[in-house]
Symmetry: C2
Subunit: 154 residues, 2 copies
């Protein structure tokens, strides 16, 4: 199964976090899991906060990209858009909030699960929980809005 | 003038965002500017959200590290700690909130300015504004808490 982010149109697929056309990026990948979404990512040894723990900025980045991908996929579902045919609509982050619940151990795969809290015409709110070895380490909320066409450089 | 982050003790100076001992990291650097702090950072061409704009996860990372550095430096000042002698105390992020006010152009230097909103025994709250070419593009709030000694691996 391909990742949601593989369906971003090529002119907007360069995100450092999740763009499949960014050669230097993290390549976060999200997919549907029933009514939720999931993204799995194993940090590199140098993605440290302190020795033994994952950098909080990487966690924020994963929550951001997974939240935006979830918002876009949920909007497509709600509007009956076939992303295989039409691509995934592009959303941007209006607001990102992350609560760090526990230090995140560096080593295990991180699992981010997304759930749509609110979906409107232009705005989607997504909640994300992040676990490592089954322990909840962070909880995030992403307010996503449809990308203005004026941001697009074709 | 050396950066605040240069004063983190060597055993906790590996942060991917701002640790001077992380060979792969961003090396964000903060310094005092009167009662405020400032960090300047020019993103790489691949730090994109979409072509022409800075990745939001990088902005969140800069706000996080600058907020934590500001919290630590403010705590040191309040407690009369000479960081040249004793090093900078280490704080961790309890909560990070970023509002993206405007798309951040990729190219110009980003300037993050920090201001202490609240300082207590264990918790410091820092507000950060981020500008590019003088335009405010993001506003953040970092809730920083003193790093538990149990997180330290000597």
């Amino acid at each position: 199964m391909s990742a949601l982010q593989d369906h971003y149109p090529d002119d907007v697929a360069h995100c450092f976090g999740c763009g499949h056309l960014n050669q230097h990026g993290h390549h976060f990948q999200s997919e549907w899991d029933g009514d939720e979404t999931v993204a799995r990512f194993t940090p590199q040894p140098f993605h440290t906060a302190f020795p033994g723990y994952v950098y909080g900025g990487l966690i924020a980045s994963l929550i951001d990209c997974h939240g935006i991908g979830t918002a876009a996929a949920a909007a497509a579902r709600a509007q009956g858009i076939d992303i295989e045919q039409s691509g995934l609509p592009r959303y941007v982050t209006a607001s990102l909030k992350v609560d760090y619940l526990a230090p995140t151990p560096l080593g295990p795969e991180l699992v981010a699960r997304g759930r749509v809290k609110e979906i409107g015409e232009r705005k989607v709110i997504v909640e994300v929980t992040l676990t490592a070895d089954g322990v909840a380490c962070a909880r995030g909320e992403v307010i996503a809005v449809r990308m203005p066409e004026s941001m697009r450089r074709r």
